[in-house]
């Protein structure tokens, strides 16, 4: 259900200079651990521009996403660890320890207005 989002209304449009993503994490206890410990995690390939889009979108909403960068050699391994199968398109987003999906899903959920409530529920956004 779509609801009005007062917090976003009052938030000033963030300028890119103001926002700096936290340094990406690598292998600190594996992907699973990172996903559990952080409310919003973006798992993507190193230097991937689509990961950048995902992070920028979340930053623009006032979220501080944790970036987990996967080197190319480890893609399949990480995919299996996280999804159980080696066949995954990165980047993917975890919110509140649960998999939301890829960029497509994120955009769809954002446009339909469902994203902010999900973020709030996971404690990644405050009023």
């Amino acid at each position: 259900m779509h609801q009005a989002i007062p917090c976003s209304n009052t938030r000033a449009w963030p300028r890119p200079a103001d926002l700096s993503a936290p340094p990406p994490l690598r292998h600190s206890g594996g992907v699973r651990q990172v996903v559990q410990d952080n409310p919003v995690v973006v798992v993507g390939r190193k230097g991937c521009c689509m990961s950048h889009v995902v992070r920028r979108l979340l930053l623009g909403l006032g979220v501080n996403p944790t970036a987990y960068e996967v080197p190319t050699e480890e893609e399949a391994a990480v995919a299996r660890e996280v999804f159980g199968s080696g066949d995954v398109t990165f980047p993917v987003v975890f919110i509140g320890g649960k998999l939301l999906g890829g960029l497509d899903r994120l955009m769809a959920v954002h446009i339909s207005g469902e994203l902010v409530p999900i973020l709030k529920a996971a404690g990644a956004l405050w009023l």
Binding site: V53, G60, L103, G113
Partner: protein, 389 residues
Amino acid sequence: MMELYSGYLEDPFNHLKPLCPNNMTSASTQFASSIRIGGMYDRENQITSVWNDSFQVDDSQATSPSMGDVKLDNTLDDVPNELLGSSKGYEHEASKPPEKVLRRLAQNREAARKSRLRKKAYIQQLESSRIKLAQLEQELNHARQQGVYIGGHLGESALGLTKAIIPGIAAFEIEYTHWVEEQNRQTRELRAAIQAQVSDIELHMLVESGMNHYENLFRIKAIAAKSDVFYIMSGIWRTSAERFFLWMGGFRPSELLKILVPQLEPLTEHQATQVNDLKRSSQQAEHALSQGMEKLQETLSEALTMGQLAGPDVIVNNYMGQMANALGKLETLVSFVNQGDHLRQAALQQMYKILTTRQTARGLLVLGDYFQRLRALSSLWVARPREPS
């Protein structure tokens, strides 16, 4: 009597030579026989080694024919000596050991056979090139007839012309032209229906058609982007005024919403809030995609300029690696085009959810009308009277 081809003989390795009995030169004789050799084998088929001569086969001396027991035609008076060397050769060779003779015969057979195969392959190649050329010409003419905007780009770059004859793109241009025609038709239908105040049920059908029609556009764009992403990104397939608004291979959803909303009044307060939220979400998503695009530009430049200060050996070794890396990055552009269209589609669907059937019908009419006017503006622009300089 030796049969000869009448008419001209096309020979890839020499020039055209007319053939007639009285005008036989050694070269033409050679090729006369070779043509027949390529075709039927008959009793006049003696001089197979002729074709080999033009290829400068090892055996410089014209030797006996490939078919072991073929009779020589003694009426070949005007045939030059090198060919008749076969008959003379025969006399000489009768005195040589038979193994050598047989071996030479075999070698000649082989050489002649290879010649024939080479010639056949060459002719086949010519034929298929000819067919391909005819097809390309046809596609080009077809695209031109559809009134596709190719000619105007010759000024910008010759590549504009090339794009129209890449098969995937040629297909897209034709499909897009049909798409525009259909959209204009649907727009007319919507206008008539709204003015006639038809029932919601009928409007609903028109709205469904309209929504599906946009989905068709995104679908054909996605296919074309795989063929040539730069073509889609450049907006060259759209008219100039439309191209002025180009973002990520199409229109900005938030801009279209700005155009749409004033025309949709009256909206309920709830609807107005929802539409505002949609506008803002769209802007945020567009911004994120634009930033991703900038990042891609950065990483591409980096990939191409890394290590330029190194010594020449390093540069040479790295070059292909860098190019391969850069190529991989360019592939990401396809994802960007797809994400742009995905965003457009999501915004459309959200509007469909927010608005009533009647409002959506109006919205589609406004959009269709807007695009039509932009295209008309482009035509007027192209045709505008210019002041003499």
